[in-house]
């Protein structure tokens, strides 16, 4: 990476471009190993690149060979200094909730000759069985002497708009090259709410309201405590400002008469 002074705008743009290219490179190279994302951490000493994947053993390779090759490739391509970039592989907690991993898995099933319905229902079932709130799989394109169409397989609940959509929806798409053109495979997963933050966002969905069950009232056994002393009021000569009980029915008339009679 260049060590010359760059403006903030250029720096942020360059960081974005670096992330995009790195992500695309790793997507293509680690497609078969369940690649599901990358995180770049810049420290003063080195740049750390954390690769999230479902099969970390394949990413590391035999005795770390493959990850060393990837490190060397990244270092040479982006002109990092020697030993200033390091790659780590992190295992994905739950691959059923990772849309990238599922899209890749579906792509390989279709490439392997599985029927579209069977492959999609397989993914749908796996995702829902592992705790997702909802899942949508779309396969679109032109198949065997037919018109172009999009086949959609849906289960559960999916939110589309607002801030919850950015937090809860995990989406990925992949392509399958065919003689007639390209078939698109899209997987969309709605994550569950997880207070620990491992399986899904901590923030609960704003329109989900939990009504707790009413608490049972404690039973009282024995005598009631004596009620506090009530001062005696002479109904013929009440103190100024006293509201007398029983005057409510007559309303203002009685009240006015009572007050006026004082």
């Amino acid at each position: 990476m260049a060590t010359t002074q760059v403006s903030k705008k250029r720096k942020f743009v360059a960081d974005g471009v670096f992330y995009s290219e790195l992500n695309e490179l790793l997507t293509r190279m680690l497609a078969e190993d369940g690649y599901s994302g990358v995180e770049v951490r810049v420290t003063p000493i080195r740049t750390e690149i954390i690769i999230r994947a479902t099969r970390t053993r394949e990413v590391l390779g035999e005795k770390g060979r493959r990850i060393r090759e990837l490190t060397s490739m990244v270092q040479k391509r982006f002109q990092f200094a020697e030993n200033s970039v390091e790659l780590f592989a992190e295992r994905v907690e739950n691959r059923a909730l990772c849309a990238m991993a599922q899209a890749e898995s579906l792509r390989y099933k279709l490439l392997g000759g599985l029927q579209v319905r069977r492959a999609c229902y397989g993914v749908l079932r796996f995702v829902m069985e592992n705790g997702a709130k909802g899942c949508e799989v779309v396969v679109s394109g032109k198949l065997r002497a037919q018109r172009a169409k999009a086949m959609k397989f849906v289960d559960g609940y999916m939110v589309s708009t607002g801030h919850p959509a950015t937090l809860y929806i995990n989406e990925a798409s992949r392509n399958v090259k065919m003689k007639q053109g390209i078939l698109g495979v899209k997987v969309k997963i709605m994550l569950p709410c997880d207070p620990e933050g491992k399986l899904g966002p901590k923030m609960p969905i704003p329109d989900k309201i939990e009504v707790p069950d009413p608490k049972p009232e404690p039973k009282v056994v024995g005598e009631l405590p004596p009620s506090p002393a009530v001062p005696h009021i002479d109904p013929q000569h009440p103190p100024f400002g006293t509201v007398m009980a029983g005057g409510g029915g007559g309303g203002g008339h009685d009240m006015g008469a009572g007050m006026g009679a004082q």
Binding site: L110, R144, A145, M178
Partner: protein, 248 residues
């Protein structure tokens, strides 16, 4: 064998009252796949046999019975470009998405034959119609900006030219979702005529007019696999060759 006197009679009828147009379809696919057969069958239901003609037909004995035995439209093995006597170009209008003018009821007085091409296109269109455009049909009209299936295009042309309804007055359903199972549906990225045009019921405004048997075909096509259609995947030296284990 089509008789040119049939064509002249139809032309005379057409010139008379705006009725009785001839609808010609240039077949551009290899063979007649099931989808094609269903759309052609629907066309035969929309337009009577003697007014429907298929050109460049693949079957050597020119029989429509192998596609749909209920109907017997005119069938030619030659391309429409070679059938100028039966379909004079000056009185033929080519339906083309790239044409600058839309079809209007007034076109009924100008044309006797309506020509369609580009069956089984991709979305966005592969522009198969250019094969007919190259032949040099001087008169072209479009049916709007959203691609239609060929049977829908024929139905729309019939409504505009024979019933005198303007293109924009016809109720359409764009990109309908057709339910094919408990958890699955198929979205068709085309424009269809709404069933409310026939039934006059507002409840049918979102139901597309589809060929008979199309919903079953959509349901069954989800059980297709891609084996015959895949391109070879390019290999990369750093990619592992083994397929991932099926843990799903």
């Amino acid at each position: 064998m089509a008789d040119s006197s049939d064509v002249k009679a139809a032309a005379a009828a057409a010139a008379g009252g705006g009725k009785g147009k001839i609808y010609a379809v240039e077949h551009l696919e290899e063979g007649v796949p099931r989808w094609c057969a269903l759309e052609y069958g629907h066309m035969c239901e929309v337009v009577k046999d003697e007014r429907l003609a298929f050109t460049k037909w693949p079957n050597e004995d020119r029989s429509f019975a192998c596609v749909d035995s209920r109907f017997a439209p005119r069938v030619y093995t030659e391309s429409i470009a070679d059938l100028q006597k039966d379909f004079p170009r000056e009185r033929t209008v080519l339906m083309d998405m790239d044409a600058s003018e839309p079809l209007t009821p007034a076109d009924a007085a100008l044309f006797d034959t309506v020509l369609f091409g580009g069956i089984l296109g991709n979305v966005p269109s592969d522009d198969r119609t250019q094969e007919l455009r190259k032949v040099g049909f001087p008169h072209r009209r479009n049916l709007g900006s959203v691609q239609m299936t060929t049977d829908t295009a024929m139905l729309v042309c019939k409504i505009v030219l024979e019933d005198g309804v303007a293109l924009e007055k016809i109720p359409y359903v764009d990109h309908p979702d057709i339910r094919t199972g408990a958890h699955d549906s198929t979205n068709m990225p085309f424009r269809y005529v709404a069933l409310s045009h026939r039934s006059k019921k507002a409840a049918d405004a979102n139901t597309p007019i589809l060929p008979r048997g199309m919903v079953e075909l959509l349901r069954e096509s989800a059980d297709d696999d891609l084996m015959d259609e895949l391109l070879q995947e390019p290999s990369h030296p750093l990619l592992t060759q083994s397929m991932p284990a099926d843990g799903v």
